[in-house]
Symmetry: C2
Subunit: 203 residues, 2 copies
């Protein structure tokens, strides 16, 4: 995580290297010490930069963490960002929902995501940025998969797609948030089946 000193590196590249080191450090550190004990000093020490470097770019530890999530999301964006579309809506949604459950229960993500959620709860400006830059693009991918199902006649044209996304992902986030029950692949499957068929339908 050091800059390639001694060879007068390109300052832009050096900045980018520092930026990535800082974001990686923030993400790892919050997973180890928890959000309450996460500090700019700690992030700076782990990233091998001065804390003034961090303060120059970010106003708060919440802002650093938010950018760490953005970097992760961009790292995944390899052009194949669309959700799977095999034509079988239930199977595709199970695949995606199982991936969501796997991420939420991954110890590397659990604490950083709880930290980010804390910030979102109390900071409407950050919540708006989250909606615009992280959650919004993900939601659009989800809506697009549902639109494809509408075109295939598998979902009614009148369906409110924002509500549909919340019906699918809300229960999973709720269970994660409150630790109110086991988050398993089977639970992911049951959420998809029940959301599509409704509580009144026989399994």
């Amino acid at each position: 995580m050091t800059t390639q000193s001694g060879k007068s590196p390109n300052p832009t590249r050096r900045s980018e290297t520092s930026r990535r080191a800082i974001l990686t450090a923030a993400f790892e550190l919050v997973g180890e010490v928890g959000y309450a004990r996460l500090s700019i000093e700690g992030i700076a020490a782990r990233a091998g930069v001065g804390k003034q470097t961090i303060y120059r770019w970010w106003p708060s530890k919440g802002a650093v963490l938010f950018d760490a999530f953005l970097m992760l999301a961009e790292g995944r964006d390899d052009g194949s960002a669309a959700l799977p579309d095999t034509g079988d809506l239930e199977t595709d949604l199970r695949t995606v929902m199982r991936a969501t459950v796997a991420e939420l229960t991954d110890p590397r993500y659990d604490e950083p995501m709880r930290a980010l959620t804390t910030e979102l709860l109390h900071d409407p400006a950050l919540a708006a940025a989250y909606t615009e830059r992280l959650d919004g693009p993900m939601k659009e991918l989800k809506r697009e998969r549902l639109r494809s199902a509408q075109r295939a006649g598998q979902l009614p044209d009148e369906l409110d797609l924002d509500l549909a996304v919340e019906m699918l992902w809300g229960p999973v986030r709720d269970r994660w948030l409150l630790r109110s029950g086991p988050l398993t692949p089977e639970y992911a499957d049951a959420v998809v089946r029940t959301a599509l068929g409704g509580l009144c339908s026989r399994p």
Copy 2:
């Protein structure tokens, strides 16, 4: 909120009066200043007690706030705690869900509930206490209403009632948490209709 001094009041009653004053102060204060600026000193000043009184009874501001929610919940428990059961499941669920939306959007409750949610996110022991003493009893009332619908043949016997509760309340909590859309009575109605009928059904 002062004790009735000068008449050597019953110490138990005086304690109870102080306890209620402290919990009321904590709930009001967090709504005014936000959770980050809520302090034991501030609660003590508003309640008219010494801060040692608070520290004697509670280990943290999170614990005070939790008990404030418990007091509120108990204040509502007038023996008519069951959910409405007119025989019309959809109508009854709409009534309850509209009440949930009204509470979540009430400015007096919004910030205190965000504060409590923050604590629950990071404190598994408090989350367990919340499940056992606050959310658990509420969930049992919800499951009981759904069981009644099962007995009436309106819901399948095999329905997983924990999942059903999460399908109904999860989307609402999700929208509240992330401020991702308007929380209105119409939204409450749409959640109930869509959860019961499923995403695939025509409205």
